[in-house]
């Protein structure tokens, strides 16, 4: 703990040392558009911007917070019509349409600066298209299986490490009258998470990325194997009923009430589970188990990002803001358990003491040798993501329709990738 505080203190000192010379020169307006509309992230961002303002008194900073879902459709309009100077978005393929339309500013120059080159090396790949960088990450989080420790203890189960154990556990959970997994697939993407893990564990990271890039047929036997593995869990009654009607939040009570034992989700699920009354003695985390021992483990770790729109007016101040937001000190603060409760992107910042963040950081640093994926709807092109996730949802309701669904996805592949 002491060493962590020292790191933080040192980081603050370093950051302010860098920031001071630039601060006197920045003037004008800086418009920041944020999609962090949930109360906690919103407060975190606003506090961070206040600290930025304090460093640059000559700058007039305007912040606009837009509802997270609405933001996804509004971004197209405001990037072309009324561009802010800084905007939040997502990494990988999700930013490709805007990069290709020339609406995001090339910020490769920031990555040429030594502090950023070293600090942000781990997320550089996710922000690279055509050998250029188009934004910076400000937070990321692990995915994995969050489970009810007390239910596992009651049934005498331990954390599974391979597929046979996972299925054996699930069999016992189902026999006790519960579902193994809660999930709400109304908004489709949650099923994408399951597909990510099952396919990466069955066929490996590279195959998964090839599939996202449209290089592999959906009717390939390897893809079918992924779905067969999925089907095993569905057929044994592993998932809660009627999941197609629930959002991911509406699926939480099943876990809180003990009707389901676990949840494959991003780390953002921890906060609402704790708020609903689950203590750290009841809630625990394990990495998605091995299915095919021959492929290296790889993980989903979606990255949220800041970009400078190409039509921004105050790009100099925007670059300074990006430097500020990714600095070790700010990264440590905004990602700690009291704020975003996620993982900092800067290698020089420290991870909060929270047990889930520690486990996630450990898993992503040491136990994800196959690669780190963003998430299905960020790795695959938007259209394919939409069609395929709809297929995943249908499969989870009607697993016997596998061949028909895969044929449909294969037709979509023929149309979408040209």
């Amino acid at each position: 703990m002491l060493s962590k505080m020292k790191t933080t203190a040192a980081a603050v000192a370093v950051a302010s040392a860098f920031a001071v010379p630039a601060s006197a020169e920045l003037t004008g307006d800086l418009n920041i558009f944020l999609d962090t509309s949930n109360p906690a992230p919103r407060a975190t961002m606003e506090a961070m911007i206040d600290r930025f303002k304090a460093e640059h008194p000559g700058l007039n900073v305007e912040t606009t917070v837009i509802d997270r879902e609405a933001y996804k459709t509004q971004i197209r309009n405001f990037l072309t019509a009324n561009a802010p100077d800084v905007a939040t978005w997502y990494a990988a393929n999700r930013m490709r349409p805007y990069v290709e339309a020339g609406l995001f500013e090339d910020v490769s120059d920031l990555y040429a600066e030594p502090e950023i080159a070293e600090g942000l090396a781990s997320t550089k790949g996710a922000l690279t298209i055509d050998d250029k960088q188009w934004g910076v990450a400000y937070t990321y989080y692990q995915w994995g299986v969050y489970y009810r420790k007390d239910i596992f203890a009651e049934l005498g189960l331990s954390e599974p490490t391979n597929w046979a154990e996972e299925k054996a556990n699930c069999g016992k959970i189902v026999a006790s009258g519960r579902a193994c997994y809660t999930i709400g697939t109304k908004y489709l993407w949650t099923a994408g998470g399951w597909f990510d893990y099952l396919n990466m564990r069955t066929n490996g990271f590279d195959f998964h990325m090839d599939l996202a890039a449209g290089n592999v047929s959906w009717e390939d036997d390897r893809v079918k194997q992924t779905f067969m593995n999925w089907k095993e869990l569905i057929d044994m009654g592993g998932f809660i009923a009627d999941h197609q009607t629930y959002s991911w939040q509406e699926a939480l009570p099943f876990m809180v009430n003990g009707e389901a034992a676990s949840y494959l989700m991003g780390n953002f699920a921890v906060a609402p589970l704790r708020e609903a009354g689950l203590t750290d003695d009841q809630l625990d985390f394990y990495q998605f188990p091995v299915i095919n021992p021959e492929v290296a483990l790889s993980e989903d770790a979606p990255t949220d990002t800041f970009h400078i729109p190409a039509n921004a007016k105050n790009k100099e101040a925007a670059r300074e803001f990006l430097r500020f937001a990714t600095s070790p000190a700010e990264q440590t603060i905004i990602n700690n358990g009291k704020n975003l409760g996620q993982l900092p992107v800067n290698a020089a910042s420290s991870v909060d003491d929270d047990k889930f963040l520690q486990m996630g950081f450990e898993m992503l640093s040491n136990n994800s040798t196959g690669g780190v994926a963003q998430f299905w709807d960020r790795d695959a092109p938007a259209e394919m993501a939409k069609v395929s996730m709809e297929g995943f949802q249908e499969f989870m309701v009607k697993p016997d329709q596998m061949d028909k669904i895969l044929a449909k996805l294969e037709r979509a592949r023929g149309r979408i990738y040209k």
């Binding site: 197209r76 805007y98 290709e100 009627d242 938007a382 709809e390 949802q393 149309r415």
Partner: protein, 308 residues
């Protein structure tokens, strides 16, 4: 200088044509906005449907390919087929609002204490936002805590997940849509009933008409204008159904509750939609379907006017 010069022998052009110009002047703002916001976009949409465009970059001319894709989606029983089929279901089921509205209007067309309150209560669903209607019905259908399943439980029937079942979902949403639409038709009929001629009813009564024959032969013919309007608004309402689907299911489960309007939004404007041209092609198809009805309505209105 003569006296006659006081009366200018050349009246200004405006003064001479005042009678003919005035109506156009009054119509001008309406025509202008209608042309800019309705007529022009119709042609723009049609033009856009010949292109492939992600809404951001360059447009590529692809001719009729978007329509070909729609055709193949239809043949393959894919999303477009589902949307079209659901639109037809909406069209027919939504018409139930007309007899339901008429029934309630007849029921409420009496003078008892507090009738205004009852009328407002029946009209209430039309006043509240479609979003609220959607949410109310979503909770009503909820498989976990919904009132519907609780009530089914009383009579010993198993829980059903209306919005999660691809065969029931459209019926479920149409039922939600009928709630405000019935109120709308009811208000149309209530005003219509005010205009029913009491002398004709009296005459009918003397001739021995009552009950159904009174309704069918005396009342309904006099309600024809109201029926016509109710028919128009219901058909148009069914074709542009969007809000309820967006709120209740987002087109799900696995796209089985889509209608054309929602599908258009999905491919062109939603989170994962980047196919403006394809969306425009769907919009054109929807427009052509609506055009059939609109032409019919306009034609019958024209015939009516001429008859008088």
């Amino acid at each position: 200088m003569t006296v006659s010069s006081d009366i200018p022998d050349t009246e200004s052009w405006f003064h001479r044509n005042q009678q003919r110009i005035a109506p156009w002047l009054f119509l001008a703002p309406g025509i202008l906005f209608f042309a800019v916001y309705v007529i022009a976009p119709v042609f723009q949409s049609f033009n856009l449907s010949l292109y492939e465009w992600d809404g951001l970059g360059e447009k590529t001319y692809v001719g009729m390919r978007n329509y070909e894709d729609l055709y193949w989606e239809y043949v393959d029983r894919d999303a477009f087929f589902t949307s079209l089929k659901n639109n037809v279901m909406w069209l027919f089921l939504y018409l139930l609002a007309i007899p339901a509205g008429l029934f309630i209007a007849l029921f409420l067309n009496q003078t008892v204490r507090g009738i205004r309150l009852y009328k407002s209560l029946f009209f209430f669903p039309f006043v509240i936002s479609q979003v609220v209607v959607g949410l109310v019905f979503t909770w009503f259908y909820d498989p976990n805590f919904g009132l519907l399943n609780t009530m089914l439980g009383w009579v010993g029937m198993g829980p059903i997940n209306v919005l999660g079942n691809e065969h029931l979902v459209t019926y479920g949403i149409v039922a939600a849509g009928l709630w405000p639409q019935t109120a709308y038709c009811m208000i149309l009929y209530l005003t219509g009933l005010n205009a029913v001629d009491p002398e004709q009813i009296e005459a009918g009564r003397l001739d021995g008409a009552k009950g159904w024959s009174m309704l069918w032969n005396i009342i309904l013919p006099q309600l024809r204008p109201a029926t016509f309007i109710a028919f128009v608004v219901t058909i148009i309402g069914a074709l542009r159904s969007f809000d309820l689907i967006s709120i209740m299911t987002q087109g799900g489960p696995f796209g089985s509750s889509r209608v054309l309007a929602y599908y258009m939004f999905e491919v062109a404007l939603s989170e994962y939609g980047f196919r403006m041209g394809y969306g425009a092609a769907i919009a054109v198809v929807l427009f052509l379907i609506m055009l059939c009805f609109i032409t019919y309505f306009l034609w019958s209105m024209y015939r009516e006017e001429k008859g008088h």
